[in-house]
Subunit: 247 residues, 2 copies
Amino acid sequence: MKSVTRSLRILEAVARHQPVTLGELTKLFGLPKSTVQRTLVTLNEAGWLRANRRDTTRWEIGARVLAVRPAALQGSSLFAAAREPMIRLRDTVNETIHLSVPDALQCMVVVDRVDCDHAVRTFHAIGDTSPLHATAAGHAILAHLPNPEVEEFATGTFEGYGEETITDPEELRTELQRVRDRGYAVNHNQYLQGVCAIAAPVLDGEGTPLAAVAVSLPGSRFEPGRLPELGRLVAETAAEITARHLA
Amino acid sequence: MKSVTRSLRILEAVARHQPVTLGELTKLFGLPKSTVQRTLVTLNEAGWLRANRRDTTRWEIGARVLAVRPAALQGSSLFAAAREPMIRLRDTVNETIHLSVPDALQCMVVVDRVDCDHAVRTFHAIGDTSPLHATAAGHAILAHLPNPEVEEFATGTFEGYGEETITDPEELRTELQRVRDRGYAVNHNQYLQGVCAIAAPVLDGEGTPLAAVAVSLPGSRFEPGRLPELGRLVAETAAEITARHLA
DNA sequence: AACCTCCATGCCGTATTGTGGAACGCCGTG
DNA sequence: CACGGCGTTCCACAATACGGCATGGAGGTT
């Protein structure tokens, strides 16, 4: 359904560029004005878009989209359960904390973020995605998945992003075992150069992983000696979120 | 654009009923199976929907929508600015705190929530909507809007939800003046019976209201004597969020 | 086991629906 | 005052989505 696909792409474009004008969108997509215009009006009528209050020729996202929450958030209860432990972790380590969920084992999606106050920090926006095989959050999820699912995942090919990226299925399996042993996953330059992350999984009542909490910091600030302590703190935070979520 | 409108309604239905089957959706809308099916497949390809991992005949919301979510929160900076003051307010009063934004002066949408730990609490999920004229959050917004906009709003008719609901425009105007004088809005049984709320607005640099912070508690726990103190705390929290948001 | 029901999926002729070029009207500018 | 940029509206065309029907499994019942 062409018009539907296009509408959603326009919706996403509005989200990224808001508040945005019709003209800017037509340039962005190279579509006729009338087509984009009709789409915007339709999205507006549905409540997903609205005109900016100051400049009514500019469009922005309506609050309606908040009612549509991914199942991965367990209807926002996961979100709510994670918030305070994440803030506490940030206060303890003063580094940026992320909460990510797997999207159909395709990629990890950043769901929530608590910033540190260093001048130099890592930045991942809410909604950003990253590959499962090359991030700490992804490893934390994979390590706690039932074996058949991991095997199915390991049949795919793994894109490399640098020297550190694990592209060999066998190597990934041993790394996942290490993650299980330690209780947390570590990523240093596997995906984004200069970024280091330590992650642990949030589980549901049956032990399947729902999400991962991660501390993310610039490699320049990472001291290997702090790793065991950071890992322990992240794992504790994840465990606390798991517990709160079940309650 | 019929198909777009329908797709969005289906998307919302999936969000409300997820994980949901094709059959359930067709019954819900009274549409032919193939129509709904095609829509689901399209939404899935766009990444907004996905099949449930356990039961692949059930559909749920995909994580893609999160990319659009922050935009609904004024570029998420408001959201980030509000979070910690809200938690502090909750810690002080031990009641549930809500952050709501107006949706095109149609309704208030709950954007964020921090729970208290009482066994009896009010409950409004993130994404829930409520009428502007019958809630404390709505009054907090309306009270700080430029007069012409309020007048335009006051031309509509106000649905009543109980004896306390303000349905008369003139009465609303005097109530809004009272809100301005006090610095906070109060709602007792205007919308939902047995629920009491105290709210204050978060403003942008030019004084237009962006959102409202509210303390929400069961009427049974509300002591009129505490009102001035609660009102002061809510107003202070809102002011702090305003300040953080500008910084 | 054989039957039956429910459900998701694929197909295809039809006409409904969305398409996009063009013309219009409104501002702000040179 | 004329021009250029922009959002909005119109309309004939045909591409597109519609929905009835048929197919193929998966589960449950007798």
